[in-house]
């Protein structure tokens, strides 16, 4: 039998209701340390609410047990920065931690060229990297990413996931990420949790290529690109 210390997260019977409407129903699973869990499901399945529950930002019933001394880094889906004249340096300084430059270098950004730039003028890929730098600044042991490559072009998307994998290995971080992209789920996660209010699947991510499972997760088959 595996010891409890091997698990970063143990969720049991987690339910969330908003105004008598059930958004998450009886979610239970365990996640091992150092693994990447992809959370998948159709729109409105409760994926972001699930993250909010993990971050203790919404009321819930059931149990969410993190390992002792858990430190969570969080990268949200949307940022409203277009209208705010805040520089990258000012944004990262809000955390009051001195390792701004090393965090930027960990995510492949040159602090000399980017620190004084306004956050709103960065490309989608650069902004996501700054957000990841923000999330890893205080050396978390868990990272939560809500669709980390929204608004990012395909090349930058791949680069971001390669970087996440590297950060995971270097720092022994457990990662939970929400993604709609089945090839990202297959290539960059170990396990997947399919939600549609309740859990529709929990298991190894490679199973996502199974058309029957895709039908279960998304309600209809998902087309994949074939080599030409």
């Amino acid at each position: 039998m595996e010891s409890r210390e091997n698990y970063m997260l143990n969720v049991s019977n987690l339910s969330v209701k908003f105004q008598n409407q059930t958004v998450l129903d009886n979610i239970s699973f365990k996640l091992k340390k150092g693994k990447t869990l992809a959370i998948v499901g159709p729109n409105g399945a409760g994926k972001t609410v699930f993250f909010r529950a993990l971050l203790n930002l919404v009321p819930y019933s059931g149990k969410i047990e993190w390992i002792d001394k858990v430190k969570i880094g969080y990268v949200p889906q949307n940022l409203s920065v277009s209208d705010i004249p805040i520089s990258v340096k000012e944004f990262l300084s809000i955390k009051n931690i001195s390792n701004i430059e090393s965090s930027l270098s960990s995510v492949g950004l040159d602090s000399k060229t980017i620190l004084n730039k306004t956050l709103g003028v960065l490309s989608g890929g650069q902004r996501q990297r700054v957000l990841i730098a923000w999330a890893i600044m205080d050396k978390p042991n868990v990272l939560l990413f809500d669709e980390p490559t929204t608004g990012v072009d395909l090349d930058s998307e791949e680069a971001i996931y390669v970087m996440l994998n590297r950060l995971k290995k270097e720092n022994k971080i457990t990662i939970l990420l929400i993604s709609h992209d089945i090839h990202i789920v297959r290539d960059y996660s170990d396990y997947m949790l399919a939600l549609n209010t309740c859990v529709t699947f929990f298991g190894e991510s490679k199973n996502i290529m199974n058309p029957d499972l895709q039908k279960t997760i998304y309600g209809e088959p998902v087309c994949v690109e074939t080599p030409t």
């Binding site: 930002l57 949200p76 409203s80 705010i84 004249p85 520089s87 809000i94």
Partner: protein
Amino acid sequence: MIPLTEEALIFSLLTGISVGLSAGYLGSIMVLEKMALVGDALSHVALPGLALGILFNFNPFFGAFAFLFTSAVIIWQLGRITKLSFETIVGTIFTLALAIGILIIPEIDLLEALFGDITKVNLMDTMLAVIISVIAISLTKIIYNKIVLSMISEELATSTGINVARINLLYLLLVSLTVAIGIKIVGTLLVGFLVITPAAASKNVSSNLFRYSVLSSVFGAISSFSGVLLSSYLRLPAGPMVVLSGVVVFLVAVSIKWASK
């Protein structure tokens, strides 16, 4: 308008600079929150408080502040409960407050309440303005980055341990204090200008938060100082002169941005 004594002019200028600095600084957050119209409308809510102060012979500042803060809290709570936009709720409450204020304020004092009167600024008003401005700027400086982070992403702010509701409430309290002292100089109808326009001008010429907030303050102080000075020399009401000075600052900032494109 009766001419100002040298002493009254110094009091008015000091009060104006204090109000301009704090209104500009706090207004920089309001403009980022896209609540500029809220700042303007909120100031009108002070009128019934001013009226009560005049009617019952206590310092109208306290009446104005009590009404502003109570209204701000009601608006904030209604927004949270009903999910209506702040603009909608403020639109309703401010017209109600304006109506009540106009009904109960003595007619002789109405013009002063609406447009301010620097000839009546005394040492006490000046000290109050300086002290409140220092407090408002200092406390806002502490919560400034936290409020900005909550604007960028409320989830990010909350997950960092920031109590967004608490800092917003503190901010509303400080805005109410600042608007209440500003009324003495520019009146309830025009004080919203000092919260909005200096920040709007600063936004045109700022690429980072520090520069933006400092320039908002400086532009607010310049608008108030020059407005009060012009009002004294030209013997015209201070409120409109402050607004005109502020508009010149705004146009200069827009021109700089235009020229740099």
